[in-house]
């Protein structure tokens, strides 16, 4: 079972390396979305500092949703998904492997880019650190839930919009506690409670989402 997981992650990362444009798109979208806010809201540093964590989190969520819609589509179309599902007991491995590769290609670049945007919004170093810590715990949740949405909407027309409608509400807790951690640090409080809740959310999602995703894949290919 762990063998299947490793084979799938290695293949997905190799495929991504061959299609670099697809990898750059989510991070480019993230950059554009975040950069729009200072232009729209106005350049007052006080306001920007206040909205920064929320803006970065919402942009991260949208970037993750944008890139997750095609997570299973290509494998479904060319028959690879069927071959993966034929491996006994592999459904959860498939779901986990897909979420992990999505996180490597979307979540990780966003975490790396987040400090730069923190500086753009004039955040303090402590606030930037808590933003990054929150993203480290929260972006895997987005990838896991996004994978579930992709499996549920596999093979549907207008599946992308449906996916966003189904999954975005489930991501709200991650946004609240992720952005809340930064707000807590900025007002001089401890963000430990927020991190604990994000961690609990991650564990909860990591246990349940792959099972649900596996069941959804099974239904989608029947």
């Amino acid at each position: 079972m762990s063998g299947t997981f490793a084979v799938l992650v290695a293949r997905d990362l190799r495929l991504a390396a061959r299609r670099r444009v697809d990898v750059v798109l989510p991070i480019a979208f993230f950059t554009v979305a975040v950069s729009l806010f200072p232009l729209g809201v106005g350049p007052e540093p006080q306001i920007l500092r206040q909205i920064a964590p929320g803006v970065v989190w919402v942009a991260a969520l949208l970037a993750a949703m944008l890139s997750v819609t095609q997570l299973y589509a290509a494998d479904h179309a060319d028959g690879s998904l069927e071959q993966m599902l034929l491996v006994p007991g592999a459904r959860i491995s498939i779901a986990l492997a897909k979420a992990v590769s999505h996180w490597f290609l979307t979540g990780l670049p966003l975490i790396v880019a987040a400090p730069v945007f923190g500086l753009l919004f004039d955040m303090t170093p402590a606030a930037i650190a808590s933003l990054v810590a929150g993203l480290v715990l929260g972006t895997p949740v987005l990838s896991l839930l996004g994978g579930l949405g992709a499996a549920l909407t596999l093979g549907l027309r207008s599946g992308a919009v449906l996916l966003i409608l189904i999954i975005v509400p489930l991501c709200i807790p991650a946004i609240i506690f992720g952005a809340g951690a930064v707000a807590a640090v900025e007002s001089g409080l401890s963000a430990r409670g927020h991190y604990s809740l994000l961690g609990a959310l991650l564990i909860f999602t990591a246990v349940l989402a792959p099972m649900a995703t596996g069941a959804a894949l099974r239904i989608a290919t029947e």
Binding site: V7, R11, R18, D78, Q83, L86, V87, E222
Partner: protein, 219 residues
């Protein structure tokens, strides 16, 4: 029942698969009249039927991808040691952006982690694709892609039952002959084969048993 008597005749080897009164549905529609047949070790079973009659659905059901609407199917052996059939679908399951050998290696690794580079090369050689092993799949013709997908058959270490959906599609005359040889060889070694084909099977020995899918009786 509608199963062909030839398929129900005394099997030459141990029974690998037994199908009893199996029905498949696509949506609300029953695809074919209930069928019963056995597949024995070393036997080639040729599923025949009109377009849309449910040949692919039947193979998918045998592979375990879909649940039967009615009836039973049982692979021989204890439940935990059921032989996992090798299912080659109509789609080739190759990735455009991987090379030929990467694609094949991935598919082999999914099923069996002991596969090494030598197995992959030998299998490609057998299907005449060794010279294109580092070419990207997107540069191949339909027939070449089919050959790469079929090369999985030549790389099998275990004598798994094969489920082949229109394996002769897109192949040239030499490819058809080659594949017929591989399938007949598998059967002679004692492997079971269930396949669909809308062309006459170019396999004489062992003679394929025919299972004909028929229209379901009107309700």
């Amino acid at each position: 029942m509608a199963g062909d008597p030839a398929a129900n005749a005394n099997p030459p080897g141990d029974s690998v698969l037994s199908v009893r009164d199996l029905e498949c549905r696509r949506g609300d529609r029953v695809l074919f009249a209930p069928i019963s047949f056995d597949v024995a070790a070393g036997q080639i079973v040729w599923i025949r039927g009109a377009n849309g009659q449910g040949k692919t659905t039947l193979l998918r059901t045998l592979a375990g991808l879909s649940a039967p609407a009615a009836g039973k199917l049982a692979w021989a052996g204890a439940p935990e040691n059921v032989p996992r059939p090798l299912y080659l679908a109509h789609a080739n399951a190759l990735k455009e952006d991987l090379t030929v050998s990467e694609s094949l290696r991935f598919l082999l690794h999914l099923a069996d982690h002991r596969v090494d580079g030598g197995d992959v090369d030998a299998a490609l050689e057998r299907f005449g694709m060794a010279s294109r092993r580092d070419a990207f799949v997107r540069t191949l013709s339909q027939g070449q892609r089919r050959r790469v997908a079929l090369a999985r058959l030549a790389a099998q270490r275990e004598l798994l039952p094969w489920l082949l959906d229109e394996p002769f599609d897109a192949l040239d005359a030499a490819g058809v002959e080659l594949l017929a040889g591989v399938i007949a060889g598998h059967a002679r070694r004692g492997g079971a084969v269930v396949l669909t084909s809308h062309l006459p099977l170019p396999i004489d020995e062992p003679a394929p048993a025919i299972v004909q899918l028929r229209e379901p009786a009107l309700a």
